[in-house]
Symmetry: none
Subunit: 212 residues, 4 copies
DNA sequence: AATGAATGAGACTTCATTCAT
DNA sequence: CATGAATGAAGTCTCATTCAT
């Protein structure tokens, strides 16, 4: 499946440091990696799809894994942002910030992110399951700053009595399960990602995490 | 990582049609496929880990993919069961069956299933992302009978007013997202799967799917 | 240049631990390595010359360097023997052992050895110049036992007053320079290795190392 | 190992026809060729070590082998000089010229030459073993004029009765074996090249070639 | 049935060389 | 003239699969 125009525009932003030909390689690699998986993809096929000589891959990315890393790194780095959305940041410490607003902004933001990077997300996901190194990077990115930011904010909500008093792990899992379920259905099973569907998921999460 | 004793006992049941030597191959293949992914695993490594000659793989399983299919088929076939748990079946049509009981039994059952087949689930999951054929089989298994069974039961609950009035897709996604999130955390990120954690997930799902 | 019949008989003894097909590979590799050097030889050419599939090289010898090592190891191990020729051993401690006899037996023995392993010697020599690892192995083989054996015997000859009183290094260099010069002329410049030529070299060494 | 200052000064003389940038390439190539051998060296590494673009190699030296030839040619041309040292020339036809003087001057001169061109000598040596073309050039340089000059002078010494009456091949081999043994020990095995060591080698050669 | 040696296509990668800038 | 990106042939090595024993 070829990248959509939107994807290509978005990827153009992610890979600004690369030359035009390098971008061709990256675009092609994203396509094939997302379709068949990293291990089942040959550099020959990538080169052919990019319309360049195979050697280019190695002069720019050192080796096949270097190409993979160049692709997934920017997405990995943005997957668990160190800072929350400005809107949330500005209102969270004010007493009128509801759980509903918090979760809505949070989940919407991540859905937009995941959808914008659909193809790369597929690759990251597949490697997450198969590659210990990638898994470690994800865990690291998660714990490094995101965890602290989130737990800080969740604590505020807990103290205000609008959030269920569970361990943060369970709360975060609930949020991410819903978000991921939505995206995976969209990415792999042609399920819609329209406003109503998203709203149901957000609504489900809000209810799930509200105290009884 | 080697299979646990529980896994091996469970797998012994799944693969009763195979000879002892074939089971050795299957056990070994499950281990390596789950660890590194199908594409990154060589038949030589499987044979070595099983302690048999490489040729044995081909005499019974035709080829590498045949071995994969032999492994994932029984799990695929049970992943979306055509019939619900006896307890649910017996009570669902009675008016005192609560959403809470329904979801608790349903989710508990799938968690038990997924956990019992942890290694194979990893393999199925990875192939789901990378292999169109496997994805089609999953979709097929899902829609064939499970969908009808579930929608029938969910309809009953909806009519009784204890279930939110959303499309079945959204309801099923909510259930499966929670369940999968729990299992994936357990399988890939060393998260616990103890009673409290499971209860929180189930509780979250119940709240999520209850009408306001 | 193909191996001579003598070489092949000799090599059959050196490589007894290998199967027939492995020996074919070794014979072919010796030929090409000796002719063009290790680095300039492709495994494809070796396989073609041996009449086997290229993969065989890797299943038996791990990699290209493994094949080189299999070839040079037995020769390296015999190049600087830990024990001298029986004849020398038996007579050296007797008072009538002359320097002439000592050197004649010693040099003749090494010439026979070097000539019998002509092709492999070429390979060893080339690697000696280009590969630090091989150089270390040679130095190690030299110092491990050969040095002690030789210096012990040379000491006896010195004490008897029939050997020039130089450092052992200089004496050994004189012996090996002559021997090597003879062999290299034979191997690379089509010079003869007949009795008269050898006798002149031995005679030169005897005179060179006799006290004035 | 980088070139010593002496080497660089010496090389500056050998490669006067080249521009500064070309000399940088030559210096770098000498280093790497001497260390790993011609075949195992990439032009990319040479360019990197020289601090120039890879294309420069090709604009002046045509190709990799052209670079090798540019390096070894001046040394090959001087290895077997057509004319002997002035001192020898002037005195050889006089009756008081001793074998001792002859060999001392001759060997000292070659040792100085070989030592001054140590790195290039390593390259020449390695190619001598692996490359038929280089071997032919050496043989040609040897036979072209050096052989005639030497045999002429050796004949004088023979007639005067101060030189052993062997074929010239054997005499020249004795001289060159000793000289080469000295240099090789110095180049590859960290052996000393001090006055005493050299004197022993020269002394050995004199004795070896004196009539009994 | 079982073995694992053998095969050869094809994977990843290197590298001498070219050529547009 | 200088650069180094680009090329693609060729190299090393892997691996699914076959088949003689």
């Amino acid at each position: 499946m070829a990248n959509s125009t939107d994807d290509m525009l978005h990827q153009a932003q992610l890979f600004n440091d690369f030359t035009a030909k390098q971008k061709l390689i990256i675009i092609a690699a994203i396509d094939v990696f997302a379709e068949k998986g990293y291990a089942a993809t040959s550099t020959k096929e990538i080169a052919a799809r990019a319309g360049v000589a195979e050697g280019n891959i190695y002069s720019r990315f050192t080796n096949k894994r270097g190409l993979l890393n160049a692709i997934i790194t920017p997405v990995l780095d943005q997957m668990f942002p160190a800072e929350l959305d400005d809107f949330i940041k500005s209102r969270l410490n004010q007493d009128y910030m509801s759980l509903e607003t918090f979760l809505t902004v949070l989940i919407q933001d991540r859905i937009t992110f995941l959808q914008s990077n659909a193809q790369i997300i597929k690759i990251v996901l597949s490697e997450l399951l198969n590659d210990t190194q990638v898994r470690k990077r994800v865990i690291n990115n998660f714990t490094a700053q995101y965890w602290q930011t989130m737990t800080h904010d969740l604590t505020v909500l807990k103290q205000r009595g609008v959030l269920v008093d569970w361990p943060f792990e369970d709360i975060l899992r609930a949020i991410w399960s819903t978000t991921s379920g939505l995206i995976l259905g969209f990415l792999y099973f042609n399920q819609p990602l329209d406003a109503e569907t998203v709203n149901h998921s957000i609504s489900a999460t809000i209810k799930a995490l509200s105290p009884k």
